[in-house]
């Protein structure tokens, strides 16, 4: 499978998971569960450089490239935001930079997450997606 296909497959899996829940409270519960499984990042990544602007809660994200693929480490001080971070990392980790650079994360729209979040959180989510794409672009350049 190409890493683009992996991305699409992972996205479909997440959509299926969320569609299982009719109630939004249950979807939030699932999101929180995702947040709880995200391993706490070490304090050393929680720097101003890694901080994403535009969230009421704080989000830090950093990435490295190993054997041509990109791996993210990220964390947040709020659990629901951690859930969003966990979802993004679940679909994005270990993919090729050129795939990440083009990722549109349409699955979030499909779940209805983008429209169901408060405006500040939706903005924060947009910033996180943008940051992931930027890492993709940056790691393409250093090939």
């Amino acid at each position: 499978m190409s890493t683009l296909e992996i991305l699409k497959a992972r996205e479909a899996e997440v959509v299926e998971e969320f569609e299982f829940f009719d109630e939004w409270m249950d979807r939030y519960e699932h999101l929180i569960a995702q947040g709880k499984t995200l391993p706490a990042a070490s304090e050393s990544i929680k720097t101003d450089d890694n901080l994403i602007r535009g969230c009421q809660s704080k989000v830090w994200i950093t990435a490295e490239k190993r054997e041509g693929l990109v791996y993210f480490t990220a964390d947040s001080d709020a659990i629901i935001t951690r859930g969003l971070v966990a979802l993004l990392l679940r679909v994005c980790n270990g993919l090729a930079p050129e795939v990440l650079a083009q990722a549109d994360f349409g699955f979030l729209q499909e779940i209805g997450l983008t429209e169901h979040l408060s405006p500040t959180r939706a903005n924060g989510l947009q910033s996180m997606m943008k940051q992931i794409r930027l890492y993709g672009v940056a790691f393409q350049a250093v090939n």
């Binding site: 939004w24 409270m25 939030y28 519960e29 929180i32 009421q56 809660s57 704080k58 001080d77 709020a78 659990i79 629901i80 935001t81 408060s118 959180r121």
Partner: protein, 404 residues
């Protein structure tokens, strides 16, 4: 005693579902909802009266002017100002404080001091920072105590003959602390300072008598007292209003204009340049009548009941920390949990149809004091009820089960 259920029928907006649940609106410190009487007054203004004020000799303009000035009279009586011209219309509390701060640019210099409290909304803080920056005056802060009240001993120590301005709020929007306005004002006057009070939360929740309190300026916003947005007032003692230069130049605020220079109109018009927010002033008049019909005593008794009931309900929740526990505090329950971000709680409350405010409440220095990213704040109005408190308590408990 207020019958909240009966009052609610006058507020169309409260009768809706949010995320499939009946709305519980507990963000009244941010803005209150408007009763039908206020909405009707605004509609009536446009359907029957709309015209510019203080300009035409025609009948509509006269009617608009009468309605516009009638609210000024109501505000004068509300705060017991000595003169009607001591009530200036502004865009809100923020506009009022900026008017005063701007006026003081020509009255302060290096060596002068401005004393504000750590309990302030940014709108009673940033204008003073700007004034200090512009004039070279020094800004000092009255610190707060753990219960969210002001450190009055420290306030007395900080006041000195160089203190030219003393600014603080009547009631804190973030914690609900009610400050001793009269006492602070006496101390401020004893050193010759001008005393400016942010009454954004004071006007909706406590009786205000500016002559009895002795303050020099008192600011308020209509939208926090069942009136429209975008309109507010500044009470100013005549001596001070005469001393301050105009804030903005334009129509309405002049008596004569030649190519060389202008002479300014008298009070209050000197501070009211341009066409004002007439519809909002008219709506505010209706809101003041509405509040008057209920009466401040009844409003305060209702609020005290909700505060006692709400404090007990929230205290029963494991791990909940209340911020702001000063005696006789007003209408605000600000809380959090050591291990939880207020934003998560706020999101899950919203999903249950419960509107609260989360975050710093435009009062970052308070959050810095408690070393927290923010709080969840529930705040009450006349139509709030014990059922709202029950829904809040249950909602917080449900959120906790999900988050922990």
């Amino acid at each position: 005693m207020i019958d909240a259920a009966a009052l609610r029928t006058e507020f169309p907006i409260l009768h809706q579902q949010v995320h499939g649940k009946p709305l519980v609106y507990l963000d009244n410190a941010a803005t209150t909802q408007k009763p039908r009487a206020v909405i009707a007054a605004v509609v009536d203004y446009y359907e029957r009266i709309n015209s510019n004020v203080h300009r035409g000799v025609h009948t509509l303009s006269q009617r608009a002017t009468d309605a516009f000035e009638a609210t000024r009279g109501k505000l004068q009586r509300l705060v017991n100002a000595a003169h009607e011209h001591e009530i200036i219309y502004t865009t809100g509390t923020t506009g009022s404080i900026n008017l005063v701060a701007h006026g003081f640019r020509s009255l302060l210099g290096p060596g002068d001091e401005i004393l504000v409290s750590q309990l302030e909304h940014h709108s009673n803080l940033v204008p003073w920072q700007m004034l200090a920056q512009h004039t070279g005056a020094t800004l000092r802060y009255i610190p707060i105590l753990p219960d969210g009240s002001l450190d009055l001993d420290e306030a007395q120590r900080l006041l000195n003959p160089r203190t030219k301005l003393l600014a603080f709020n009547h009631i804190s929007n973030a914690l609900g602390t009610v400050n001793p306005v009269k006492q602070l004002t006496e101390w401020g006057h004893a050193v010759g300072a001008c005393v400016v009070v942010d009454g954004a939360q004071g006007l909706p929740h406590r009786p205000v008598d500016v002559q009895e309190l002795g303050v020099d300026f008192y600011a308020g916003s209509a939208h926090k007292m069942y009136g429209p947005t975008g309109i507010g007032m500044l009470y100013g003692r005549t001596e001070w209003l005469e001393k301050l230069p105009p804030y903005q130049g334009g129509g309405e605020m002049i008596s004569t204009v030649t190519m060389a220079q202008s002479t300014y109109a008298g009070l209050p018009f000197k501070f009211e340049a341009g066409t004002p927010n007439i519809e909002a002033v008219v709506g505010w008049g209706a809101a003041l009548d509405w509040m008057n019909a209920i009466g401040m005593d009844a409003l305060m008794a209702h609020e005290a009941d909700l505060m006692a009931y709400g404090t007990e309900r929230l205290r029963a929740i494991d791990g909940l920390v209340l911020f702001g526990t000063a005696p006789e505090k007003s209408a605000v329950l600000s809380f959090g949990f050591e291990d939880l971000h207020p934003y998560d709680l706020g999101t899950l409350l919203d999903q249950q149809g419960i509107a609260v405010r989360t975050g710093q409440h435009c009062a970052q220095p308070i959050m810095d004091y408690y070393r927290i990213p923010g709080t969840v704040r529930a705040s009450f109005a006349a139509y709030s009820s014990r059922e709202d408190v029950d829904r809040l308590g249950d909602g917080v408990e449900r959120a906790l089960r999900m988050l922990r």
